[in-house]
């Protein structure tokens, strides 16, 4: 559905994109992750036709972005990071305007607006001016305005930044519904739990390069990531720690606790408990720290995702 190949973009002397490539299949939920300044928004801006690349190619559906930008625009919907609405107009008028740009017949557009407002739980307030809405409500309308032309591909750039839990949950429900209905979604976010929850595949971008891409499981295994079993004891002496360390190589002491690193928690957990009991250690509690995108990113780049 989307094919990005060797995409390059410079801002003066700064190389914002250093030749990135990735493919997104039809109906796929693709997450683009990276810290601020990594090149996420530049990539989305090029794919959504508002920024010209300095090199490389982008194909959307059957259209080349450079040769046929208008056709590409017709099949994409973009939810920008900022709330871009006319505050002095009502939600309904805003949607009429944004939907009207896609030449949807008036009667059809009205039906779609009512349906979309119902979907986002804002039908009852459709005639209120947007300026009277809360931040979360505005964000919902912001997303709704990108869906009226029923795009095949939806670009969502940090769509849940700074909103209340109620609006966030509603947006999640809508996003999941759209995904179920077969829409291809490209999603950028800082929130790892969102990416882990929704994304079929993830591309990790840093310093203008895709440093890893694949499913969550693929990212985990390709980086030989290990999960951590943290066992806290009532009292851990040096002597007892040495006894445990003899039989378990990949571990680290943290005062009265030991971090055991494991690539197979299911098998290793029982072994660790037995070994600790045999050594005479009184276990206080056990925590299992699973691998997440944050740890994968940390492992790949040596820095936090939100740096």
């Amino acid at each position: 559905m989307i094919s990005v190949s060797n995409l390059k973009k410079n801002y003066g002397n700064i190389q914002a994109l250093k030749g990135i490539s990735f493919d997104i299949k039809q109906g796929e939920f693709f997450g683009l992750l990276g810290p601020n300044g990594a090149g996420k928004t530049t990539t989305i801006s090029i794919m959504s036709t508002i920024l010209e690349p300095d090199g490389g190619e982008v194909n959307i559906a059957d259209f080349n972005l450079k040769d046929d930008p208008i056709q590409c625009k017709k099949i994409i919907g973009v939810v920008p990071q900022e709330i871009a609405l006319y505050n002095e107009l009502s939600a309904y008028d805003n949607l009429m305007f944004w939907g009207g740009l896609y030449n949807i017949p008036q009667s059809e557009l009205k039906v779609r607006i009512d349906e979309t407002l119902q979907l986002f739980g804002l039908f009852d307030r459709k005639n209120d001016k947007v300026k009277t809405y809360s931040g979360g409500m505005k964000r919902r309308i912001n997303i709704a305005s990108a869906l009226l032309h029923k795009p095949k591909i939806l670009f969502m750039d940090e769509p849940t930044v700074g909103i209340d839990p109620q609006s966030r949950n509603l947006i999640f429900e809508v996003v999941e519904k759209l995904h179920r209905e077969g829409m291809t979604i490209v999603y950028t976010t800082h929130y790892m739990e969102e990416a882990e929850r929704f994304c079929d595949r993830i591309g990790i971008i840093d310093n203008g390069q895709i440093i890893a891409q694949g499913t969550f499981e693929e990212l985990k295994s390709s980086n030989m990531m290990k999960e951590t079993i943290v066992v806290s004891f009532v009292k851990l002496t040096d002597e007892l720690y040495d006894k445990v360390a003899v039989s378990w190589k990949d571990l680290r002491r943290d005062e009265n606790a030991i971090n055991f690193y494991s690539s197979n928690v299911k098998n290793d957990l029982a072994k660790i408990i037995i070994k600790c009991s045999e050594t005479g250690l009184d276990i206080l509690r056990i925590d299992i720290q699973k691998i997440n995108l944050e740890t994968i990113f940390l492992n790949l780049t040596g820095k936090q995702l939100r740096d």
Partner: protein, 408 residues
């Protein structure tokens, strides 16, 4: 307190826009007004002669001599035209007044009668004509008046004293001629020059037309700048970017803005002229087609100016700072604040570079000079406004692509 004041001063001097508004704008306006009203730019005692269009219907040695003598004065530079051409110049607003030397001028001078000299003028240019008339009467009396009156007195003397001896008669003649050679303007001088208005005597007063057209155009410029600046608001609030995501051509965003600016401008002018009709009785219905076309042309030029200004700026604040200066300057030079004829000649020449000038002159053509829609003068003013608007729109489009789209 001292620290706070110092901080504020530092902030103030760091803000170039504030500095410009505080110092440069007033300096620029003072300079401009001084040139417009204060006579700055001329050395004392030095003035350029006024062009005086003269039609010589008499075409005699006397009339030619009169033109030559007028041309040799420091006040006038004579330009000869036919009567029809001269009158047309007044009717079309190119000249405030023209002097007609009617047939029989030579005979009248020889007979000592009042010479048939007529000043035909545009009553809309009352102030300018008044000054011209004053200077003209003084010179005419100096050139032909004394001679004419002397002849008349001599003829009367001769008819009453037919038997006087020739040597005494010659002495008395010489004395009378000498006395009349230094005749100055007197109470009868006003009647010496017949003055006839060519344009006007209509319902619409030129003052009213100037007030309505001048103010309407100036205020229109301010309001269209606000419409143009909304483009920058769109950029700031992210809606411009969102518009660019949609399948409309980027230049259509600017065209949409131009269209809305045009509609608002037309509405504003229409409302202002309706108000002028209701409040001051300006006769707008007798010239409806011309008026509508002129309103459209003026609105087009003004709205293009608003969009052009916005396309150059990077923020609404910048537009506001620039527009205040540019609109005031344009309105001052272009005749929105005061009629252009009051200004020095070089400023009158500059005024043609303003939208205000062409708009105001166009409305004068309609309401005062009563030019029909088919008249080339009125059409040429409309054409100039449309060309100004088109040129500004083209530049705005280029700047929009360069400034606005790339930053979006």
């Amino acid at each position: 307190m001292k620290k706070l004041a110092l901080k504020d001063l530092k902030l103030f001097f760091a803000d170039k826009r504030a500095m410009m508004l505080t110092f440069l704008v007033p300096i620029a306006l003072i300079t401009l007004f001084a040139f417009a009203f204060g006579g700055v730019g001329h050395k004392k005692g030095e003035s350029k002669p006024t062009t005086l269009v003269v039609a010589d219907d008499d075409n005699t040695a006397a009339s030619k001599n009169l033109m030559k003598q007028l041309d040799s004065t420091k006040e006038f530079e004579v330009k000869q035209k036919t009567s029809a051409e001269a009158e047309n110049l007044v009717k079309k607003g190119d000249e405030a007044a023209v002097l007609i030397l009617h047939k029989g001028l030579s005979d009248s001078l020889n007979a000592g009668n009042r010479p048939p000299i007529e000043l035909k003028y545009d009553a809309a240019e009352e102030a300018e004509v008044g000054i011209l008339k004053g200077a003209l009467i003084g010179n005419l009396i100096r050139i032909v008046g004394g001679k004419s009156m002397a002849k008349s007195t001599l003829a009367k003397f001769d008819s009453e004293n037919p038997d006087i001896d020739p040597s005494t008669r010659n002495k008395i003649h010489a004395q009378i001629t000498n006395n009349f050679s230094s005749v100055e303007t007197n109470k009868q001088s006003e009647s010496f020059l017949k003055a006839t208005p060519l344009v006007a005597e209509e319902e619409n007063s030129p003052g009213l037309i100037h007030a309505v057209a001048g103010t309407a155009i100036m205020m229109l410029l301010f309001s269209v700048v606000a419409v143009g600046a909304s483009l920058l608001d769109e950029k700031q609030e992210g809606t411009l970017k969102k518009l660019l995501y949609s399948p409309i051509h980027p230049r259509n965003i600017l065209f949409g803005k131009m269209l809305s600016a045009n509609i608002i401008s037309i509405l504003q002018l229409v409302i202002m002229f309706i108000f002028a009709r209701l409040a001051f009785g300006l006769d707008i219905f007798s010239h409806l087609p011309s008026l509508l076309l002129m309103i459209i042309a003026t609105a087009f030029a003004c709205s293009s100016f608003g969009v052009l200004l916005a396309s150059f700026a990077k923020s609404r604040q910048q537009v506001q700072a620039m527009s205040t200066l540019i609109i005031l300057v344009m309105s001052c030079i272009g005749g929105s604040m005061i009629p252009t004829f009051i200004m020095p000649v070089f400023m009158q020449k500059i005024s043609v570079f303003t939208v205000n000038y062409w708009g105001i002159q166009g409305f004068y053509d309609i309401f005062w000079r009563m030019l029909p829609l088919t008249d080339t003068v009125l059409l040429s003013r409309i054409l100039v406004l449309l060309l100004i608007g088109t040129a500004m729109n083209l530049v705005a489009l280029k700047m929009f692509n360069k400034n606005i789209l790339k930053i979006a």
